[in-house]
Amino acid sequence: MAMDTQDTSYLESRRLVKRWAGPWPALANTAMIAVLFYISWWIFQDPRGLMRMYTPYVGYMVCRWLLIMFIWLAYIFDFWPFRRGWMETTHPVIKGVVLTAASVAVMLVVIEGFFKGVLGNFGIAYFSPERLESLGITDFYAVEYASEAIMMFAAIASWLSPSWVVACENAPWQNLKQPTRGLTVLIVTFFLGMIVYLLTMHSHMAILFYPWQEYTAITAPYWQKFANTVSGNFHIAWIMSCTVVVWVYETIWQRYPFNLIETDWLRRTSAFFGIIVVALCLSFFLFYAQDLVWGINIRGTRREMAPDWRWLHVGEMAIFWLVGVLYLNFYGGNWPTKFSRPVNVLARTVISLAIGVAIYVAYYMTAHLFLGTQKGFSHPQQFPMIPTIWLINLFLINMWFMDGWPGWKAVPKTAEELEEAKSEIVAHDVAWTPKFARGLLFGTVAGAAAYTLVIAVLPWIGTNVTLIR
């Protein structure tokens, strides 16, 4: 029985049903996204294409802010001001075009109006290319520097905005109607984002200029000894990992294990900070993995030996994993689903990592042949996060705005299904028992052993595997 779903978000109110049996829906959507990716890449980003936004920071800023716009529209505002009736009855392609266009329009207002116009002219000069140019910076770098600063803000927002919805469950404003709830969450996450920006990226921007802007920012940055660099890329590493872990937690982990906690405030707080802890673990490992493969980083050098680049590459590697995670969740039906929750979670983690590694390998072996990018891992002007986030944006347009068209269609959830979804907020299928505890202990040792095996193998990979000839 279908029911009134106005109290449930649009994404939660629908069930996506395959239009055809077998792998055809996934194949059809993959083919459509591949074509859309390449056409849109050529039009907007490709250094050989039409608009050539891959300068790189202009393109980097745009693809990141588009991601934020999609998250704001779908997750924070639940598609407000678009009516639920319109969402449920309009053809997916029309919805895709209209909602994407609306997102682009808001993005332009945010970038051109808020950051460059307001913040750049009345607050912090480096957000405005015109201000920088008038201060003597070459016009190209004036645009690049401002785009870098605006892009960095998006990096933080791409973690905090979804985190408030996914981990904090919109609390304490979950019962407010739209747009009040959306605006409240937006303002709060924007405020938090500004604080995180000032604590993590402002010093990076301040030492871009000569002399270091020591009266307006902490220079040298406080993290330089720990991170072995003065570059803000250190923060990009863990912040991008947070972004990735939020979606891992939301999709393939089905909010496990924090959804075992019944007390609301404890579950939400644990999830919010747990995501950060997991992201830090991931960042430290990915940085160390590079040192194991390529040799210990050398501060002050360039390319793949430089610590600043390696911190950046931590974020890049994490995003490759996110591509695997979202593909498995969107187009692979979050497979497998037949085992217990923890086993499903573990299996999906391994599968998505395998997909991420495969995409990583394929990217570095072939991207320079068709994306107009440079061969090699570490060109300082090359950011694989641009094509990967561009691809993720297309995934989101397809699954959030277009209900998975053409391979899937949306049908309203039944009352039972909605009830089941609500009960999922706290998972009841995993309980603490002596056997579970014994398994946990065994698994922890096995996990540590797996980690030991991986770090033992990585130096061998560094010596024997060549991706780019």
Binding site: Y141, A289, R302, D308
Partner: protein, 387 residues
């Protein structure tokens, strides 16, 4: 049969699956970025290849001014689509086709001047001046290296050939490079990499010495290899495909495989072992990074006193007078190698030279002649002697 053992086993498996993830993540977080993790990593072994020694190396800066107007160069790059655009398509001389930024190609650009190379380079440049964007902007990077052997004999090498035919012809004549090439006094031309400002002036060198032995990195693209032929080279370039290639006793070429802006790949730098002094490193642009070069040399070469003595070249830090915090990492870290003499210019950037001086590094100042814009570093026509 009771369900109890099954449920019990299921609980164990669920716990184990959770534990695997938790154990792996905890290990990642608690071990990966710790001193303990790094202590277990094998220390870098120094292979220390012996390559002889020389008495001294004298470097004459033929031209370090690769372009004369930074805003024009960066503006052209911006108009063409940014730093990753293929250099042959940008529309710069000698590959302009009159259609504006990013609409050119190697074949289109070279077609009207191919027959004139290398003998009629003045007319070829005049034609290109009408077909290219900002034709007055190109200069070039080129250096003469004179190596004095232990027995006192001297050997000359040309490192790179600049960009503008017009400017490089003037510069070669100023330093008598044209006569040295014509007389066969220069033993080899070493092209550090394929970039426009180091390589596109090749016909000027070919005009005077078309048979000179030539070394190139194996990352040259097909357009670059074709240009060597079209420039009038009468020979086969020696392709450097190993990390270390000895040019002569005491002189080693080091190959670095690095992606570089405007679709260029790889760079070759030089190392000299100065008897009783130490190692001198010379680079064209140093896209691999100074500290990558010092680290490689430290690991792979054996040199007197186990000491870094000198450094010369474009050090590629802020070529467009741009900045990035990672450059400060270099400024902060270079001191530990304790160079006694730093000769820098070109893509090092004026701001970097300034920061080097502020950091107390022994940067040799220049005379700011022949259109070099600052005395803060070695300019056109200046020389530096190591040894």
């Amino acid at each position: 049969m009771s369900d109890k053992p099954l449920a019990s086993r299921r609980d164990f498996v669920m716990g184990a699956a959770t534990g695997v993830l938790g154990g792996a993540l905890a290990s990642m977080g608690l071990y990966s970025y710790t001193p303990l993790a790094y202590d277990r990593m094998p220390k870098q072994k120094r292979t220390g290849t012996e390559f002889g020694a020389v008495r001294s190396v004298k470097i004459t800066n033929i031209s370090e001014t690769s372009w004369f107007n930074n805003a024009h160069l960066v503006g052209d790059l911006k108009d063409a689509g940014g730093l990753l655009v293929d250099q042959y398509t940008i529309g710069w001389a000698p590959f302009g086709n009159g259609k504006g930024p990013a609409k050119s190609s190697y074949d289109d650009g070279i077609a009207p001047i191919k027959a004139m190379l290398p003998n009629d380079i003045e007319a070829a440049w005049d034609i290109q001046a009408k077909r290219s964007i900002h034709p007055e902007n190109p200069g070039g990077f080129s250096t003469l290296i004179e190596v004095e052997d232990l027995d006192g004999s001297k050997h000359k090498y040309l490192l790179d050939v600049g960009w503008s035919y017009d400017w490089m012809l003037q510069s070669f004549k100023r330093e008598a490079i044209d006569q040295m090439l014509a007389a066969g006094d220069i033993e080899a031309l070493i092209l550090t990499h394929e970039h426009f400002d180091h390589f596109w002036g090749l016909p000027v060198a070919m005009k005077f010495g078309p048979k000179i032995p030539m070394y190139i990195h194996n990352g040259f693209y097909k357009e670059g290899k074709q240009y060597i032929k079209d420039s009038g080279y009468k020979g086969d370039p020696i392709v450097i495909d190993k990390e270390l290639t000895q040019i002569r006793p005491g002189m080693m070429a080091i190959k670095f495989d690095v992606p570089i802006i405007t679709r260029v790949y790889g760079e070759v730098s030089l190392a000299f072992n100065i008897k009783d002094k130490g190692l001198v490193l010379v680079s064209g642009c140093n896209h691999q990074g100074i500290l990558q070069m010092t680290s490689t040399a430290h690991q792979k070469l054996k040199y007197d006193n186990d000491k870094f003595f000198g450094l010369y070249g474009g050090l590629h830090i802020s070529p467009f007078e741009d900045w990035d915090p990672k450059y400060d990492d270099l400024v902060l870290s270079l001191g530990k190698w304790e160079f006694e003499k730093l000769g820098c210019n070109h893509c090092t950037g004026r701001l970097t030279a300034k920061k080097f001086v502020e950091a107390g590094y022994p940067v040799i100042k220049g005379s700011a002649r022949f259109r070099t814009s600052t005395p803060d570093y070695l300019g056109n026509g200046d020389t530096i002697v190591f040894g």
